[in-house]
Symmetry: C2
Subunit: 149 residues, 2 copies
């Protein structure tokens, strides 16, 4: 796939990834390193707290990024960088065995005033499980080179 530039993105574009299944072992491994709260690392304790083990929201975000980077619809020219998120929500938890897929919608595309060779693409990320429950929703921006640069 050729590199993408700012000019390749347009508001209203929608992309959807294949699903990725997350295991109990991976949920625990991630949380032991980064978010070792009982509902993320201890299946027995999690029964009382959240009706069973749930993934750290940061793991859900990392899995969303995996879907974004590997889905085949995002291949920007080198130098593209995430700037941050305007909002990030976890409406439903991710549980062992869930199959997550990403739905991405381009919300806006604008040249950068500060960096004439680049522009900013703002996307809505919606991560869904196999029941179409939304497990993550965020609006996030990335800086991408212009083709003319």
């Amino acid at each position: 796939m050729d590199y993408q530039y700012l000019e390749d993105f347009h508001p209203g574009q929608v992309f959807e990834s294949e699903p990725l299944t997350v295991s109990e072992a991976e949920i625990i491994e991630f949380a032991e390193k980064y978010d070792a709260q009982p509902m993320h690392v201890d299946p027995v304790a999690a029964q009382d707290i959240t009706g069973g083990l749930i993934a750290s929201g940061w793991h859900t975000a990392a899995l969303t990024m995996n879907r974004f980077i590997t889905a085949g619809f995002y291949n920007p020219a080198p130098g593209a960088l995430g700037l941050g998120c305007e909002s990030l929500k976890w409406p439903k938890p991710v549980r062992p065995g869930d199959a997550l897929r990403l739905r991405l919608e381009v919300l806006s595309v604008r040249p950068s005033a500060k960096r004439p060779g680049s522009g900013v693409v703002t996307n809505r990320f919606t991560t869904l499980n196999q029941n179409n429950d939304i497990v993550l929703e965020m609006v996030s921006s990335v800086i991408i080179a212009r083709r003319s640069a």
Copy 2:
């Protein structure tokens, strides 16, 4: 440390964690799983793109969560859950060998209208490196049980 309840948090409280050093190996390991872009996984390619390897912003977020959970100032009663972020930014990148510490400020504490036994604490997370550069800044809310519940 005893469990914390909503009544234990007050706007203006500030907490700071000890630092945690992140290695090149850990940066690459995280990114190979979740965010395998050249500037996160390939030190040679990263030289041209970002002047050397930089951590995935989602790794920086996960390391921030590690500091939050293990610093000793956050030990809520079981059932506390992150609701999401109002904003999340990565003003400067994290590089191998950086020592990250978290500065947390409680912005607001309010009872929940929907869940009478709980309330919402909104915090500003600021993650700093050894040079006091800000590598992550976010405003994020968590639901926490009331003591009277």
